[in-house]
Amino acid sequence: MNNIRKNRLKDQAFKIWGIFCTLLGLVLLAVFIGNILVDGIMRIDWEFVMNLPSRKPEKAGIYTALMGSIWVLLLTTLIALPVGIAAAIYLEEYSKKNKLSTILEVNISNLAGVPSIIYGLLGLEVFVRILEMGASVLAGSFTLALLILPIVIVSTREALKAVPKSIRDASFAMGASKWQTVYHQLLPASFGGILTGIILALSRAVGETAPLIVIGALAYVPFAPSSAMDEFSVLPIQIFNWITRPQHGFVENAAAAIIILLLITFVMNGIAVYFRNKWQKKFK
């Protein structure tokens, strides 16, 4: 009997440990967000959002960095979206199981694991130097587009995979060609899933810092970019720059900018989760 009780006790102990671990990460995240809010919330006002960068912490704002982030995000979407979705359609609907498809698959799974800073080195050499784009919005967007390409492809494939086979069969039976089936049936049916994946990929892109530092995006840019060939900064780089400054005022600025960056990230994740839930119900 003693043994049984000991085992039950151990079982209960692990249960409590499990709950503790599960909550640990979340509690730490909450502590951290609380900390940031205390540090930064007082700093956020309209001027902080609209001011240009400055040497004086109380006058500095995030306008150029925010505009840079928006520019980069839009261009990254424009580049990564068509390529990623097209590649996913090919892999999921067209390719036959042969050597090429295996290579493509292994390769994409490998690309997803390449550290983001390596993409920065690729972008620096290819886009900034060989294609002579300089440290421009365009070079940054190409770099980030390559970075999120594997994520877009994998999530789009998942979405296409979730469309029941009966829909494909019905479409073919009506005499539709392969592309007509893809374009008129599969893409609309998997739209929600594809959108979810893309939003998640973009929320990753908006927080990326390292690859953009490597291609030479600047911490200090006097004006917001007005074309794709302009120099730029982004929100995470602005935050990084403020963190590394010694004056206390900049710590406050960094915290305030972090609040805005986290808001953007969490809202994007929230939208993605909303679409996922809404869309999952469709086929059930």
Partner: protein, 292 residues
């Protein structure tokens, strides 16, 4: 006409898929060409054996070991923290927790991986380091312990989510058999479920290691910029990634040796993560066959 259109579409879709191969080829070419240039000036023996890395000083040394030890030290701390916690979470969620709890907690945990890393860097430097300093007097304000722990928090969901999926994929009959033999949930978890899902769990740990090795902003902000060959977690170190950031922030001339060092450092990083990713992919493929 229609056939032609279909063919053109198929070819352009294939072209898009082939871009991913071009990306890999591009990465390998860029890194190796610059690295070959680098090794034409610095001997590869020095690179591997010299215990000092000082390419930005006048007395130049090009030994990768200090950067490598910094990278391994921060990654080791992160993994040592994240593996027990992440694994416990996955077992708790898969074998103990009510379904509704699991459904709400999993997306919340995944939020941990969605927080931008520069934000974690701020957390490590401004919150965790001062906190640790109150226990460990003499700890430097840049250190690998704080950076490693925060990196551990970040990779918890990588381990917990993937391991939970693996545990979940174990056929229910195994679970029922274990309970039928009178085992507790704990015995079932560790003697039946974890061994049965071991390949999936190993994959999740390998992916987490690869994430930790390639992580940049947390270590660049909180671990310091002093390459040194040490395993003392309280002093500043520099990782491979942090070095690349440090050089990129400065005004280094293109075609200078300093510029080439970031590619030499990059290819070292790439080789490590590539090996880890390939191993995990192999295991994953094998694992899939097991249950199909």
């Amino acid at each position: 006409m229609r056939k032609l259109k279909e063919l053109v579409i198929e070819r352009s879709l294939l072209l898009s898929a082939l871009i991913t191969i071009a990306v890999t080829v591009g990465i390998v070419l860029v890194l190796s060409i610059e690295a070959v240039n680098f090794f034409s000036e610095v001997s590869i023996i020095d690179f591997i054996t010299d215990p000092e890395w000082t390419p930005l000083f006048s007395d130049k040394h090009f030994g990768i070991l200090p950067l490598l030890s910094g990278t391994l030290l921060t990654s080791f701390i992160a993994i040592a923290f994240a593996v027990p916690v992440g694994l416990s979470i996955s077992i708790y969620l898969s074998e103990y927790a009510p379904k509704s709890f699991r459904r709400t907690i999993k997306p919340l945990l995944e939020l941990l991986a969605a927080v931008p890393t520069v934000v974690y860097g701020f957390f490590a430097l401004m919150v965790v380091t001062p906190f640790l300093q109150s226990f460990i007097p003499g700890m430097s304000s840049f250190n690998s312990l704080s950076a490693g722990l925060v990196m551990g928090i970040m990779i918890i969901p990588y381990i917990s989510s993937l391991s939970e999926d693996a545990l979940h994929a174990v056929p229910n009959s195994l679970r029922e058999a274990a309970y039928g033999m009178g085992s507790t949930r704990l015995q079932n978890s560790f003697r039946v479920m974890v061994p049965a899902a071991s390949s999936g769990i190993i994959v999740s740990i390998i992916l987490a290691i690869s994430r930790a090795i390639g992580e940049t902003m947390i270590v660049a902000i909180a671990a310091g910029q002093q390459p040194r060959l040490t395993f003392d977690p309280t002093v500043p170190v520099e990782t491979i990634t942090a070095y690349i950031v440090q050089v990129s922030l400065g005004d280094v001339q293109h075609d200078s040796l300093e510029y080439k060092t970031i590619f030499a450092a990059g290819i070292t990083l790439f080789v490590f993560t590539f090996l880890l990713n390939t191993i995990s992919y192999r295991i994953r493929k094998k694992f899939q066959e097991k249950y199909e």
